[in-house]
């Protein structure tokens, strides 16, 4: 019989020299034993951390987790004290990932729910093909900016790019933003040129409901990373939305 752990003291796991498979076994064991807080130390590129966990456990990661952090994840809160790599929150169902640094490519790809907060920049193809269904709505909030193909094929969810590290007058960098999008919404703080947007994307000013959403999300972002939400919100935002529910409706003869 495995020993029960005290739920308040974090379970510490040293990941030095441990493969992803062994590390996930340790995580599963700790969660099965009732741990509610887990600390992973010396993480060094191990992939798939937290992949099959479905309890609302808090996992603090010190070091650099590898690709597919929290892929298919269903409930835990993962806090990365460092940078995250590619595929963070891939096809995530529920839970939260907070990255105190940068994150790589395809974060939140095909996510169905949950939220990802990144303090700095993110890579290519973020939020690609995110979905939503009724109350399940994935969220990505990024403090910095993103690379190309942001929100491509987006079918739902909310993407927020705050551009806090952009200089005065500097545009967001991503091109082909929202190509093929047919659902969801992207909020940009700062500016973007028309040529950077996919042709299925429309731009508009915020409405009352948008501001409420942003207040909530930016409020959380500010709390996690120690910013003043008022200051962030006191700036011009634009909203990108899908112009068509069926972007490729007229592609076929029948």
């Amino acid at each position: 019989m495995a020993k029960r752990v005290n739920v308040d003291t974090p379970v510490k796991i040293d990941a030095t020299g441990v493969s992803h498979r062994e590390l996930n076994i340790k995580l599963r064991e700790a969660v099965a034993n009732g741990a509610q807080k887990i600390q992973l130390h010396n993480v060094h590129g191990q992939r798939y951390i937290g992949t099959d966990l479905n309890k609302p456990v808090e996992i603090n990661i010190f070091g650099t987790p590898g690709n597919d952090l929290g892929a298919f994840m269903d409930g835990p809160q993962i806090i990365v004290h460092g940078n995250a790599q590619d595929g963070c929150g891939n096809t995530m169902n529920n839970g939260q990932i907070i990255v105190h640094g940068h994150a790589g490519d395809i974060i939140g790809m095909s996510a169905r729910g949950g939220s990802i907060f990144v303090k700095e920049d993110i890579g290519y193809r973020a939020g690609i093909h995110m979905k939503e269904y009724e109350e399940k709505q994935p969220v990505i909030v990024v403090g910095g900016t993103a690379q190309d193909f942001l929100g491509e094929y987006m079918a739902g969810g909310i993407l927020v790019l705050l551009g806090l590290n952009l200089c005065q007058g500097e545009h967001h960098k991503a091109k082909f933003v929202g190509t093929g999008t047919h659902g969801g919404v992207i909020y940009l703080r700062g500016s973007i040129e028309q040529y950077q947007l996919g042709k299925e994307v429309g731009t508009t000013e915020l409405k009352g409901k948008d501001s409420q959403t942003l207040q909530k999300l930016v409020g959380k972002f500010a709390t996690y990373f120690g910013y003043d939400a008022e200051k962030i919100l006191n700036h011009k935002f634009i909203k990108l939305y899908p112009k068509y529910l069926r972007p490729y409706g007229r592609l076929y003869v029948y």
Binding site: T51, A71, F72, D74, R112, H129, Y153
Partner: protein
């Protein structure tokens, strides 16, 4: 715009037999037959007819027959009616031609150029009616060698396997492409027979979770309906990279088919297009494929084999080698004639290679590299009968997927209108009026009957060859001979000319 398209078919109605019962009117989902109350006559808008034979079969007095419209263009080998009519359609719409089912063109069907051996005099054939014959097949990675401990327990790490009582599975068809009643028919038939059906990329309807241990759950580029519970439900997880009917392109489930229940299973809003991108955006290389394979192994805690499906293309053998090294436990190859619920016609009929050649090339390559044991090989794409299946296994396959054959068992007449969503047989549609036409009780029985019939035939062929286990047949190409093939073809297939 006035259409220049002539009617393809003529509906002949024998007015002496017709009793004006209106069955044909109600059965036709393409708005061909209609009742004229004033004249008390049934009339036909023949330009809409697709020759699906629904009205012919259900007419209680056999009053109907359908014929090709004999309207002949001036004969021209190059400009055949299909070429002319395709251009007319595109000139009138400016769009991509869609179609359903598999490639219907005249590329060589190699199954028809392969013949099997039988025992005569020098070795005895086996009578399957009085001797046990083994069709059981295990799919999954096999170890290079097995080592035992002193107490004879197995020391070697073994990998998860899926057991099939017959080496025939139902090909992936998503909920949305086909109806729930069709999927339930599949699920119940395979549960009875001891094999697997495949969810396709549309998620798994809650009603079908109970058939999980006979279910392959698919993860495709749209990731529709993929979540932990779904992955846990299946006996195997399949990553779909490509499909024989449309290699290299994605899929668009049109918004009309995304009904309330389909939207719930796929987890997207009702009425939006369900777009599956052409590539998986987390797979741009063999290394990336490996990453997704292991993500799924982690997500299922290494309890299930992970299969990867690709379309058969020119370099399939090299890709297959990479897939095995990436950790795929099962490789699924879908050939040129692989079927679809909807694909651009030009892709369906022109892209990809015949499954027979791809299978032979992949099996060869994996053997040469001594990694054939590391993955099972499953093939699909145009398999019509048990003879094709035995030939596929003899060429090196572990098992086959059947798609069109299974649908034909349910009533499909291969009229190739799947993409319209109007299937009069109630198969490839989400229209609730039509989906009722498949009764899962009867559907499951028809499918189980087909599998039973084919199993008996496979045993008969095996008995004739003097083989009593399907394993002894696998990759045993000496049992095959080619007829009417060139040296190059024989060489790629790895079989000798008949008579040699």
């Amino acid at each position: 715009m006035k259409t220049y398209l002539p009617a393809k078919f003529i509906v002949e109605r024998n007015t002496e037999r017709c009793i004006r019962c209106k069955v044909c009117v109600n059965q036709c989902s393409f708005d061909v037959n209609c009742y004229d109350a004033e004249d008390d006559k049934i009339k036909s808008y023949e330009e809409n007819c697709v020759s699906c034979h629904r009205c012919v079969i259900f007419c209680p007095t056999q009053a109907l027959s359908i014929q090709k419209n004999p309207l002949e263009y001036r004969e021209n080998y190059n400009w055949r009616p299909e070429a002319i009519e395709d251009i007319i359609k595109q000139a009138e719409t400016g769009a991509v031609l869609l179609t359903g089912m598999g490639d219907d063109k005249t590329q060589r069907i190699y199954w028809d150029h392969l013949v099997l051996n039988a025992s005569q005099v020098t070795n005895p054939s086996i009578d399957p009616l009085r001797e046990p014959m083994e069709l059981t097949t295990y799919l999954g990675r096999k170890p290079d060698r097995v080592e035992l401990n002193e107490d004879l327990s197995v020391r070697t790490e073994l990998f998860p396997q899926v057991k099939l009582e017959v080496p025939i599975m139902f090909a992936a068809m998503s909920y949305g492409a086909v109806s729930l009643n069709v999927q339930e028919s599949f699920a119940r038939a395979v549960t009875e027979t001891g094999t697997l059906w495949n969810t396709g990329e549309g998620g798994l309807h809650p009603k079908l979770y109970k058939y999980g241990k006979n279910t392959i759950v698919q993860v495709a580029s749209g990731r529709f309906g993929v979540h932990a519970e779904y992955l846990d439900a299946g006996a195997m997880v399949e990553i779909k990279v490509g499909q024989g009917a449309k290699p290299g392109i994605g899929g668009h489930l049109p918004g009309e088919k995304v009904t309330a229940e389909v939207s719930q299973t796929r987890m997207i809003p009702r009425g939006t297009d369900a777009l599956s991108p052409a590539p998986h955006h987390d797979i741009y290389s063999i290394e990336d494929l490996s990453q997704l394979i292991y993500a799924l192994k982690e997500a299922t805690n290494y309890t299930k084999p992970i299969s990867v499906k690709i379309a058969a293309v020119h370099n399939s053998a090299a890709i297959a080698s990479g897939m095995v090294r990436a950790g795929a436990d099962i490789i699924v190859l879908d050939g040129l004639r692989g079927s679809t619920g909807a694909a651009p016609k030009i892709i369906r009929d022109n892209v990809g290679i015949p499954i027979e050649l791809a299978l032979a090339a992949v099996d060869n390559r994996l053997r040469q590299e001594s990694i054939r044991n590391q993955a099972s090989v499953v093939v699909s794409g145009g398999i019509r009968n048990s003879g094709d299946i035995v030939k596929a296994i003899t060429l090196g396959a572990d098992a086959v997927n059947i798609g069109t054959a299974a649908l034909v068992a349910l009533g499909c007449t291969v009229c190739q209108q799947c993409h319209t969503g109007k299937c009069a047989w109630g198969i490839c549609t989400s229209d609730l009026f039509l989906t009722k036409r498949i009764n899962p009780d009867i559907g499951a029985q028809r499918l189980a009957n087909l599998l039973r019939g084919w199993s008996i035939e496979i045993k008969d062929i095996m008995g004739g060859l003097g083989v009593n286990a399907i394993e002894s047949l696998r990759g045993n190409r000496l049992h095959l001979r080619g007829i009417g093939l060139t040296d190059t073809e024989l060489n790629i297939l790895g079989v000798q000319m008949a008579g040699s």
